[in-house]
Symmetry: C2
């Protein structure tokens, strides 16, 4: 099938064509760039909302509800569920997929899950490419969900315009450990399962933490302070309020702030893609690993092997102050 | 102070000298390699045990007890506590440090904690360098503890010879989510707080999971099957059994298996160090980021920017099949 046909099918709303384009992005296939070049995606046409939080917080249910709410507003929704932490195909992710399945018969909803291929740092690059594909296919909203709570998950949702962190009462230690990180990445804090005991307390605690953080530094009076929104994704209660806060953040970000934020994120994406391609070229195509092995076998000390390899790639003599390991 | 003096002080057991050497490793300072070159570390002199598990599982307490036990056997112990997930200095890590403080007056114990500098993937490289430094200083045992449960933590402890995964009853969802990953990385599974309700059940569940995994593939009759060891780090009960299992794994690994495993890990370390140095040189020293920004500003599509930059680094024409983003 010629490539033009895939672009055509994509613009006609063919979900299988979009799924294939995303697979190309995942596999680092050159046809991805070629197709996007044909499609010339509309700038800022699509709003990207990232959703993260600990396992069991109800992220998938919330995503499902948000999609439902967005559909009633006639907006088309692309849902991307990413599991960047585990190099193994995850049961949790499969479960999420099944729960989200009920939305897939709607032509205005596209759902895709991506599991890590074990490539270090590769997930954030692949996730952004997948979002670009969904945007190019004409969807107006992207819900980018990650399974898990670590740095890898933050890296993925960090590419979104608005980041939701979903918590729920009683998840305990894990939450304590991630609290500092949460406040850094969250544009909106969602306390899900608001009918559970401890929910009110959690809302108060989080609001306090946000306040302390906001007043801790030199406070920007025009800065964004993450609202804390209780809701129940299970019953659908207050989902409209979550959506309202996303819209509010979107309005706040509009204009110069958005241009700057997206420029910064785009640059990071380019950097990741460059590093991934370099790694592929050096370690796979050019067999740098074999050279390293041979040097180590011959008794060369690890830091000398590093120096030799770096010099051979950059074609430059070693300088003072350059990193050494 | 001339560098020779640092090596001298290190060999005389000066902990401040060792701390400085590790700081050099953390900061990517070229003096690290220069000093290690002088010291010519003894191969296989030091056993590296990695300890990972969810927050609250009692990793630090266990590390403390293991160190105590190793000291009664007259072995010197280097403890390295690493927090690779969070780019923020962590309260949890500070707490761990304080708990471990009681061991620091012993001249045969060295304690150091490392928090992420936010460098992607940099922690595993820095942690291995720090272990090399501790080994070069003559310590016989290294306990490499990570705070957290994600891929970044596995990357760090994966450099150890023996990996302990510490769990405890009642940690809930987090454990479910990490179970698959745990079995892949664990050489010994420790169920801490064995006096808590649910501990026996957890031991049985984990043993079953290990068994299913062992028989799932083509089973190696000489393969290692991770034992599940209940203990109570708080009271010190059965810590000797944990140590016995580490020794058992060490004995199993001895010889050709150990040579192969260490070769593989060393190669990975070299690769990480090369990639880190390349990133430093390209993005910091050579200002590749500015070039990328300028290209994006001029309206060049992201995937074309990637292609341009990669070609300029490798000095090679783009080929078919090379990854594209």
């Amino acid at each position: 099938m010629p490539q033009a046909s895939l672009s055509q099918r994509l613009l006609q709303g063919d979900k299988f064509a979009l799924a294939r384009l995303i697979s190309w992005a995942e596999n680092g296939d050159a046809r991805f760039a070629a197709t996007l070049r044909e499609l010339a995606p509309r700038a800022e046409a699509c709003w990207r909302t990232g959703i993260t939080g600990p396992p069991g917080a109800g992220k998938s249910t919330l995503v499902n509800q948000l999609a439902k709410e967005l559909r009633t507003l006639q907006r088309s929704v692309g849902i991307l569920a990413v599991d960047p932490s585990s190099p193994f195909s995850g049961g949790a992710l499969l479960g999420d997929r099944i729960r989200m399945e009920e939305r897939t018969t709607d032509p205005g909803v596209f759902i895709r899950s991506m599991a890590s291929r074990g490539a270090h740092g590769g997930m954030s690059r692949a996730a952004v490419d997948a979002c670009d594909a969904i945007e190019a296919a004409g969807y107006g909203e992207i819900l980018l969900e990650t399974v898990g709570v670590g740095q890898a998950e933050y890296d993925v949702v960090g590419a979104a315009d608005t980041v939701l962190v979903v918590l729920c009462p009683g998840a305990g230690d894990g939450i304590q450990a991630m609290k500092a990180g949460i406040l850094e990445v969250a544009d909106v804090l969602v306390v899900n399962k608001s009918d559970l005991p401890g929910a009110d307390r959690m809302v108060v605690d989080l609001e306090e933490a946000v306040h302390i953080r906001a007043t801790g530094g030199a406070r920007d009076p025009e800065g964004w302070s993450a609202p804390v929104v209780p809701c129940s994704a299970g019953t659908g209660e207050d989902i409209d309020e979550v959506l309202r806060q996303i819209e509010k953040h979107r309005a706040w970000l509009a204009g110069e702030r958005l241009v700057r934020a997206r420029r910064e994120k785009r640059l990071q994406h380019v950097r990741r893609a460059v590093e991934e391609q370099l790694a592929q070229e050096l370690w796979v195509n050019r067999g740098l690993g074999d050279r390293a092995s041979a040097l180590l076998e011959s008794g060369t000390a690890p830091y000398d092997v590093v120096e030799t390899l770096v010099s051979s790639i950059l074609g430059a003599p070693k300088r003072d102050g350059v990193k050494s390991a």
